[in-house]
Amino acid sequence: MHSEKASFGLKIAAWGGLVFLHFPILIIFLYAFNTEDAAFSFPPKGFTLKWIGVAFSRPDVLEAIKLSLQIASIATLIAMVLGTLASAALYRRDFFGKQGISLMLILPIALPGIITGIALLATFKTLGIEPGMFTIIVGHATFCVVIVYNNVIARLRRTSHSLIEASMDLGADGWQTFRYIILPNLGSALLAGGMLAFALSFDEIIVTTFTAGHERTLPLWLLNQLSRPRDVPVTNVVAMLVMIVTMLPILGAYYLTRGGESVAGSGGK
């Protein structure tokens, strides 16, 4: 019975599903070049590049972009260090509490962001820490660790431990082994994890809402625009920019980790 060809209905449902997934994204790209400056009217009236220039000359937009880039970079660095350490500790040995630790790493993305966000806010308030860039970074690093961890531990599991022993037997010290054996092996997985963590941090809004204080990251700027629809064209351009910054890393991560088990991104946000 099981014919090698999919039925027509199944094909329609599958390809239709893909269209459904991409249509709203196309709309964003379409509206960013819309000549009209007020409404959401469809179809767009004309094509223009004007709004890109306008958006990039707005100081509030540039400020938000700069802040988001800074936060994403620092949070990614912290996540890469902590995620690599955690995966190096957990990939081979069995010890008491191992399950608990891996569960703890996953919790910040498995539980809704609002829980992490308000928990951090309650703690910062209790400790008298003023919310700002520092508190945003702390929040972002916390949920980015698992992304790096997932990518690196998958690579470590596929790398033979005897390579490390051979290196040490041949007289390399710990640093040399790390520099010449472990790091080149981990390289692309680490980069893929870092890129995904960067995308996740650049786009994060729920935890950020609680930990931002008066700072305004790019997603918060966007959200603020939505409740006050003043300059729709600029919002559309920024929306497209955020979309691109978050979509490109998944392509990069895919090509970097291709050929192994599917690691990139699995496990959700």
Binding site: A6, P24, F42, A110, I206, T246, I250
Partner: protein, 315 residues
Amino acid sequence: MTSVAIPHTPANGSPLRRFSNLLYRRPNLYLSMLLVPPLLWFGAIYLGSLLTLLWQGFYTFDDFTMAVTPDLTLANFAALFQPSNFDIILRTLSMAIVVSIASAIVAFPIAYYMARYTTGKTKAFFYIAVMMPMWASYIVKAYAWTLLLAKGGVAQWFVQHLGLEPVLQLVLGIPGVGGSTLSTSHLGRFMVFVYIWLPFMILPIQASLERLPPSLLQASADLGAKPRQTFMQVILPLSIPGIAAGSIFTFSLTLGDFIVPQLVGPPGYFVGSMVYAQQGAIGNMPMAAAFTLVPIVLIAIYLSIVKRLGAFDAL
């Protein structure tokens, strides 16, 4: 007979070398050095914060002075069961369940086609085509839907040109589903949720179907099952763990969301928006903490249910 003295690995050498040797001989030391930084970060910052939050759920909020005092009380948790608050919980919970079911229905054919009928380049294409919208900015996806559903927007244009306006009016007229316009209806909000979480459902189902051996399907056919019977009695039961795994994401993410309910749909709080409002405008952190416990408890219950369905093996 000359004895060849095998040189004992000297304990000298560079300090770095000696340190490496020490770590190699004492794996526990090595392990704890690796573990301390992440454990410190997660233990102190993350778990510490969660406990702080839960603890504050027992604090007292004075309605008149708008001040929080550290007098312990169960009043906040009891207040969750007041009709107005309980309505919010029910509204959120029912949305999370409906969204999970709908996502599974929409995701299944995509996952099935991906797993059984694509190979090589097409499979990679599908994989990326599902991953990209999954990672694409959450806030921009929500924004795109406000554009789609707005008055005079894309959805309306299509409805008009396909002559479906009476149908839309009819659907929007159904109480509990509709609303005055698409962007202020429950239906609109539901569509946005399904859209945003759909990839989280596709990938686990696809993974579980990928593991299903084709020989099982051949055996089922050999034993005389019609395609429909094979689907209902072999394929579907074996994909349950994948569906359950995907539903963890759709359920949990809908439960805690407060951005989508704010942008699309009728007025009325969700659990997430209630947490946000309580801590922000009202300044009632204890009540916000009590509300935060709702998704935690619901997710814990949900996890214990789907664990029996084998969801954790499919993650």
